[in-house]
Symmetry: C2
Subunit: 208 residues, 2 copies
């Protein structure tokens, strides 16, 4: 290990969890917590101000989401090292975070040893993804992702709208909505629209 400590930024809207991470980092000589943030906007500001070596980032936060924050930070600082630290929210959500530029993916159910190991690994340039998450992503690797339009329609259906209402709201024909629904059912392997919505929620395509 080098003698200069690894400087960390922690982003999470739960103060108690931030406290827990702070406690873990406090017990490690080579890890130093330099800033905290409670949402995506604060995260971007804090990154600009402190330029941490590694950032621990939750995904679901008020205001700006974690994925947005990762995109914004990586656009401004392309070599930023970011580790997602979240409760599992579906393979699609996880994949979006990794594609946005995260090098690591940890679950909040991790042990402290896994946390510090991952921080050091990512600092050393490696990628570290929790096995459960990696498995889920791999299981759906061959799947065709839903198009933006399809997600839009699935959202409308989840809100309790009929095909006709969704069509009116989007300014298209009901027949077109049905065609999209057919594609959605096929891609998700769902029996009907209700099943499609539950799958969408479980996989992180829709949020609550």
């Amino acid at each position: 290990m080098s003698d200069a400590p690894i400087r960390l930024l922690v982003v999470d809207d739960h103060p108690l969890l931030r406290e827990g991470i702070a406690g873990v980092l406090d017990g490690e000589d080579d890890l130093q917590l330099v800033a905290e943030a409670a949402d995506g906007d604060e995260a971007i500001a804090a990154f600009r101000a402190h330029r941490p070596d590694v950032t621990l980032m939750d995904l679901q936060m008020p205001r700006r989401s974690g994925v947005d924050a990762i995109l914004a930070i990586r656009a401004e600082f392309p070599d930023a090292r970011i580790i997602v630290l979240t409760t599992y929210a579906g393979d699609v959500q996880a994949l979006r975070a990794l594609q946005a530029g995260a090098q690591g993916y940890l679950l909040k159910s991790s042990l402290r040893k896994e946390l510090v190991d991952t921080v050091r690994s990512v600092m050393a340039g490696r990628r570290r993804i929790a096995a459960e998450v990696a498995c889920e992503i791999a299981a759906h690797a061959g799947d065709a992702p839903l198009s933006a339009r399809e997600i839009e329609i699935l959202r409308g259906v989840a809100a309790g709208n009929s095909n006709k209402v969704v069509a009116a709201r989007l300014g298209i024909s009901e027949e077109t909505v049905k065609a999209h629904m057919k594609s959605i059912l096929a891609k998700l392997g769902a029996n009907d629209r209700t099943h499609a919505v539950t799958i969408g929620l479980r996989r992180g395509i829709l949020d609550v």
Copy 2:
């Protein structure tokens, strides 16, 4: 304040969060962490072994759920003081925990001051429920809750089964399932079955 410290048990499947709570409690002279548990079964065993003054309990855990653990503990120790500490999971879920005997309800997004205040208040015999949760419960106070059978049917529907399949699986007639569905839609104020499922998930009637 009395000179004897308040002895606490913390139950949560996230080690990092437990660490955070431990850190918070460490900074308070009158609060003493005496045991930790990672699921409902461990919680019951730990309660028997340590008889804590106050228990902090998450709701969603592997194996035995938090509500089950509260019921089991309160059955054996009727004067156990339990505070739920969880990410918000719907008014129905929260209500079940309070009816099971919890005196307090905190969100993981709470500040450390709210946590220690609530522990002391509950220790003093008062009830403390986070405002957001209290509002949600109040908003649905007049609603008729779903019956056990209705929940069973809603679960089947959420899994992507038609009325016919649900009926066959429960050994009843399709007409009966339809009658239950009608009642479910009315009670939840849903437009259709898909809407009913999303409402059920949001309100904590169904889990993912």
